[in-house]
């Protein structure tokens, strides 16, 4: 009984029309939450103390680290969606990983650019080909490849299946990024927040970092919901144009 209830709830959400109705209801709340969280996060980012060694440059962390977390979380969301495409043929799974790819590319670009801007004053270089930086750069290229692949194929369901396989193969890069700083000698510092034994970062920096991370995450889910809605609309427009062309063909 509970099984069938869970399955019916799941298939209810799989219906794109229901998803559109849900998106219309929750998007204003998500957008408002994003604005409020960014306002608090940015206020804390510029009012808390600087680091005793790095000085004010520690403030770059409040955009760099959340963007880097999101670059990996977005790929994880895409990998879960890819499983949805390949295993359950979930109608929204194809839409979900296609809509997430440009968002992931954008957040990875922010992580790379702010990392470079932080590296110059702290390490004395804009870029080094060490394990962490290179693996994040590979992630960026993978996002671009997935966007190109989705755009290169006309049939969306075929494009979704091919992309899903590629996403799952590429998922091997995520643990490599996470543990690159432990497995190899890198200029990049090891983990100081999400690590065994708890965070080693000072409370002064932890709060603005956490709030900015939540703000970035809510922003991601807001944009992801909007992009999924756009993709559903795009597919409806294409389907209706095909139908109109068939009807015109019959009349001729």
């Amino acid at each position: 009984m509970t099984d069938s209830l869970a399955i019916s709830k799941f298939s209810e959400l799989a219906n794109p029309t229901r998803f559109l109705a849900l998106a219309a209801r929750i998007l204003p709340w998500m957008a408002a939450a994003t604005v409020i969280l960014f306002a608090i996060g940015l206020y804390l980012s510029f009012t808390t103390e600087g680091d005793y060694q790095q000085g004010a440059t520690v403030r770059i962390m409040y955009v760099h680290v959340p963007a880097a977390w999101l670059s990996m979380m977005c790929y994880t969301v895409m990998a879960v969606s890819a499983i949805g495409t390949l295993v359950w043929r979930h109608p929204l799974a194809d839409v979900s990983h296609k809509a997430a790819a440009p968002l992931g590319a954008a957040f990875t670009l922010i992580a790379l650019a702010t990392g470079s801007l932080w590296g110059r004053p702290m390490w004395g270089t804009w870029w080094v080909w060490d394990a962490r930086l290179t693996s994040v750069f590979v992630l960026f290229l993978m996002y671009l490849g997935l966007i190109a692949l989705n755009r290169a194929m006309d049939d969306p369901s075929r494009a979704a299946r091919v992309s899903a396989v590629l996403i799952l193969v590429g998922f091997v890069n995520i643990p490599i990024i996470k543990f690159s700083v432990d497995w190899w000698n890198t200029l990049h510092q090891p983990a100081s927040v999400i690590r065994m034994g708890g965070p080693t970062i000072d409370q002064e920096f932890l709060w603005p970092l956490l709030i900015m991370a939540i703000a970035f995450t809510v922003l991601f889910f807001t944009l992801h919901t909007m992009a999924m809605r756009n993709e559903i609309w795009r597919r409806r427009v294409a389907a209706q144009r095909r139908m109109a062309a068939r009807m015109a063909g019959r009349e001729a």
Binding site: V63, A67, L117, P121, L223, A227, N230, A239, R241
Partner: protein, 56 residues
Amino acid sequence: MSHTFYIAMSYAVSAAVILCLIAWTWLDGRARRQELAELEASGIRRRSAQAKDDAA
């Protein structure tokens, strides 16, 4: 260059990328909504919508 330059550039780059992303997503949605409205106005509707109208 001063540290302030690197901090300002980091926030400026992040803001520019995020604002472009928001604008692109929003404009894409607006264009798709317009296309759907135009199709609807020319009498082309989804089969499910037609079925509902026929039943009513």
